[in-house]
Amino acid sequence: MNIFLQYTLLIYFLPLIAFGIQIFVGKRLPRQGDWVSTGAVLATLVLSIALFAGMLLDYNPDFKQNFSFTWLETTNFKISMGFLVDNITIIMLLVVAIISSASHIYSLKYMEGDSRYSQYYAYLSLFTFSMNGIVLANSFMLLYMSWELVGLSSYLLIGFWFEKDSAANAGKKAFLTNRVGDIGFFIGIMLLFTAIGSFSYADVFVGVAAGKITGILLTLAGIGLFMGAVGKSAQFPLHIWLPDAMEGPTPVSALIHAATMVAAGVFMMVRVFPILTPDTLILIAYIGGFTAFFAATIAITRTDIKQVLAYSTLSQLGYMIMAIGTGAYTVAFFHLAIHAMFKANLFYGAGSVIHGMHHALHKLGDDKTDAQDMRNMGGLNSKMPVTYWAMVISSLAISGVPLFSGFLSKDAILAGTLALVNRTGSHHLLLFFGFGAALITAFYMFRMIFLTFHNKPNKPKIFDHIKESPTAMLIPLVVLSSLSIFIFYTLPNVNPLSGQGWFTHLVEQHESLVPGHLNPSVHEIEESIHHSHIPAMITSLIVAGLGLLLAWLMYFKKIVSPDVWARRLKPLYNLSFNRYYIDELYDKILYQPFYKLADWVAYVDWDVYDKKFINGLGRVTEWFSKVVGIADYDGLDQGIVDGIGRNTQKLGNSLKKLQTGRIQNYVLYAAFAVVIILILLML
């Protein structure tokens, strides 16, 4: 068997086996089987590293292996499934394996003592399995199936503490919101399949290049696929589920709702980029850009530490989506990988803080104070130095400060946006979104750092009981902090200001396959990005610096009062604070009418249609049979053929009894009708 197939099969199925073991016997195993899931995921990590090392040794940008088998087949209809292994797959497998391993290890302590500990690990394994399905899929079929399965694991893990209504609601909301996107995704797949007759990426690409689907249909197919991404990657207007998803345990938030699953939408768009039309792309760019900016403006007024990070995730995903739209799709993937590391790290840091807070509150016997509210923290850097430094490093990365990883990819995205504007001479709004979000990002990240870790503790009593988290939780922090340093992404080059390196060498942009050269060529895109690189970098450094400075003035030095400014900008502040009232709006214009419609349907169906109409028909028949009975008995029998015989009278009587509802009569009636029909037909 091919070595890549062996490796990927193992990577794919080991977590599934772990899931099976955990769900059925996990509880009875020593340590409730946490080592089963953790072992499986560590094995996938080793295998992924091996694949990755092989990729680096091979250093071939065109590396591609495709494995396919027939899953089901009728005479002319066939669905194949299989794996596509190229450099993008290998990098993504490694990203998933790293973060998933980190979450497994982190959870050993974070979830210790939970009443459903073994189930938790089962779900984590299920997630890893499904996520790897998305990564490995070589066709829309396996992609879509894995897509739904990550949705399931996300649902189960968000609602893991299902005793809380808020958690159960959040799980449901996530699943249903994703389904809205999936409707578009599904229609997109059907449009492609109808035109091309296959679900596999390779066939679809060939079909599109051959012009089997063009124009508005291709655009619609692309928008359909993008809708799937909008759902999964939580882009406006389907972003509403992700902040609620923070109800899940924090390692889950790090793994699923920050680093990997929510990036699946971006990953899909990277995969299908060559078939996207210019119209689709520009829509994608605006949705992404808007989400990046819009989510950032909400993040600045959050007080819950995980909520800040949730909106920050939305915003960063928006960046990636925008990069797809501007044509710099490999950059989107670059940012995906880099973001996964620092964002997971931020969540582990936040989890570490929350863990410490819980610990302290538990000691105080306080179950009222919110362990996630930054207003209850402050000054924690002295108590939690490892956590503190990990979060600072990650915040520097996300803010786009040189020497850290985020700088490389964010700068490239902004250069891509600037390049688009330069190429087309329009879409300046995207620049505003991009750079504006960069400024706000630096601001809210350091607002979070200063509020949580600096100044005097806001609640000294709690502060006294805060302790640094246990080693199992610190390992992921240290590892991922290291992976937020630029050099891991640029080797063999060591210039901190240039993103060039193994990544850019091994993940090359492919030409658009849309016929008629509607999209710019790779050369044009790269050329224009090259020219935009320096101005974009300088601008992004300036705005990031401004954001940081503002946060420093407001929350560290406290020279500028945030409260005063909140009052001065009251309407804007309210919009941000209330998340633009979008949840309330949806409730009013979508959910309520939807449930009302359902109630109406049920009412019409049961109380009007059935009770009134159908039963009315019954009553009419009853009345009719009564009339016939009377006519027969009183008119025919009594009046005309009176005395002919008892048989007729009996018949009349039995017809009259129809209304009694006794079943024998109905049977008789039916049999009678049948006989009449038989006679009629024989004549």
Partner: protein
């Protein structure tokens, strides 16, 4: 085969029924064991049949043919093909499990199981009969025990529900009977279904009755007859009531087997004997399918009673099958001779029929498990049961997620095929139908959350976990759902040739010009 395996399949339950007749009514255990043995043997034979079945041909196999009423050309003809085989296996499977579901029946045990076995014979007969008269007889045989099983062992409104069920179905049977007789007299006085499939299209060609095409008239009669069983909107209102009132085991049979007879009948009779009209009616079928999907789904979302919700979910789920059936017209030249789409839709419909059988059976058993403990089915009246009954919550999750079409469970792939098949021809209709997958998820997740999540309802803090017998009725169905969801090929291979045969039949006989 000389064994007459098909006859054996049909008459085994009757033998069981006769045996039960001789057992004194207080020996309930013996009665139950007889019922379990009869259905168990039947299941064993059905599995044997599945394994012996020749997948490479689309024609009828294991045929049996004897004279019955020669003067009217009535024969006792049986046979099985890829269309009936899945149902022939599903019927004894669900019957066997249903015996265990109703293990604790208290009232009139003897009568219950005797009637139940009679019902079993009727159902098996419908799927195996190839003589129209025989088909009709079995169809009616099934009706009576069903009436009594709902009317005597059901819930508080059982009599009303039973009469409604009976009148609806009787109405359908009468229409069907007229159609059967019309076919008999216009197509050479034969009830032989295989012959009719070949003679009816030409014999009816150009015949007008009261100015209407005879083909269309007969199609409508048959369609309404079968549509009541499916049930297709607007003939569906007997279903929720019947389900709510019926005892659990009967709901299982009703949803799992009886509803399938509608779709089976359409594919066997309407598609087989009136292929021309398929072209005429396919658009309407697709529209009705979508109405079923959306209407049934929305109604399910609003239900407060768990069983009623599951009942409406049947209407919703079988809508997908109707859409898939409509996809057959993709083979038309105007649709680009798209055989792939036609096969996807038709196989999807048959697959959906089977999957709905296993999934809705699970859902009804689950509703029954809850009802047996709490004596009510109010969705909002529970809460937090996942904490109290984790195993039950897990099994229920499989059923609920299968119901909402989660990949890796069988319902997903059949729904997917129905959509993909119908899409090239009925694009707008199918796009409207895709909202069904959202509504589906909405009502299942809503119910699951209300029952299993949240704080544990204090009233049920001592509710016992699902017991071994109940698990035994659910696990086989869950395993089938899972296996066919991961690897559907074994199922699709069995039906493949028959489906291709039907498509070919409709494609070649259906587009003769000048029919209407």
């Amino acid at each position: 085969m000389d064994l007459n395996i098909l006859s054996l399949l049909i008459w085994l339950p009757i033998i069981g029924m006769l045996a039960i007749a001789f057992v004194p009514r207080e020996k309930v255990d013996i009665i139950k064991i007889i019922a379990a043995t009869a259905t168990g043997l039947q299941l064993f034979l059905a599995i044997l049949l599945w394994m012996q079945f020749d997948k490479t041909t689309g024609s009828f196999q294991f045929m049996e043919r004897y004279d019955w009423i020669p003067s009217f050309n009535i024969f006792y003809t049986l046979g099985v093909d890829g269309l009936s085989l899945p149902m022939v296996v599903l019927t004894p499977l669900l019957s066997f499990l249903a015996v265990f579901v109703s293990w604790n029946t208290k009232r009139a045990v003897k009568g219950f199981f005797a009637l139940f076995l009679l019902l079993d014979t009727g159902m098996m007969g419908v799927f195996l009969a190839l003589d129209f008269f025989l088909f009709y007889v079995f169809w009616e045989v099934m009706l009576l025990p069903m009436y009594f099983l709902i009317g005597m062992w059901g819930g508080p409104q059982r009599v009303y529900a039973a009469i409604k069920f009976f009148l609806f179905t009787l109405f359908g049977s009468v229409l069907m009977l007229i159609a059967i007789l019309a076919l008999y007299f216009t197509c050479g006085q034969t009830f032989d279904m295989i012959t009719l499939m070949h003679t009816a299209p030409t014999a009816l060609n150009g015949v007008l009755w009261w100015g209407m095409s005879a083909i269309k008239v007969i199609w409508i009669l048959l369609f309404v007859g079968f549509a009541i069983k499916v049930p297709v909107f607007p003939f569906h209102t007997w279903l929720p009531l019947a389900h709510v009132e019926a005892p659990t085991a009967i709901s299982v049979i009703l949803a799992g087997v009886l509803l399938k007879m509608g779709i089976y009948g359409m594919l066997r009779v309407n598609y087989g004997m009136l292929p021309e009209a398929v072209w005429w009616f396919a658009g309407a079928l697709a529209v009705l399918g979508v109405i079923n999907v959306i209407w049934g789904g929305l109604a399910a979302l609003a239900q407060k009673d768990l069983k009623k919700m599951v009942a409406y979910s049947s209407i919703n789920h079988l809508g997908y099958a109707l859409m898939g059936m409509a996809a057959i017209v993709a083979v038309g030249a105007e649709n680009g001779n798209n055989y792939a789409a036609a096969e996807a839709g038709m196989s999807g419909a048959v697959f959906q029929m089977f999957n709905h059988g296993t999934i809705s059976a699970m859902l009804f058993i689950i509703a029954g498990v809850i009802y047996d403990r709490a004596h009510h089915r109010e969705i909002a009246g529970f809460g937090g049961l996942a904490k109290q009954m984790p195993i039950f919550a897990g099994v229920a999750a499989v059923a609920f997620f299968a119901g909402l079409g989660l990949p890796a469970l069988s319902g997903f792939i059949s729904e997917f095929m129905c959509f993909v098949g119908a899409f090239p021809v009925f694009r707008t209709i199918v796009i409207i139908g895709t909202f069904g997958i959202l509504i589906n998820a909405a009502y299942f997740l809503r119910a699951y959350q209300k029952i299993f999540f949240g704080e544990l309802n204090k009233k049920y803090s001592d509710m016992p976990e699902i017991n071994g017998r109940e698990l035994f009725t659910l696990i086989p169905l869950a395993i089938i759902t899972f296996i066919l969801g991961v690897y559907p090929a074994p199922f699709l291979n069995v039906i493949r040739e028959t489906i291709s045969g039907i498509i070919e039949h409709v494609a070649t006989l259906g587009i003769a010009p000048g029919i209407f």
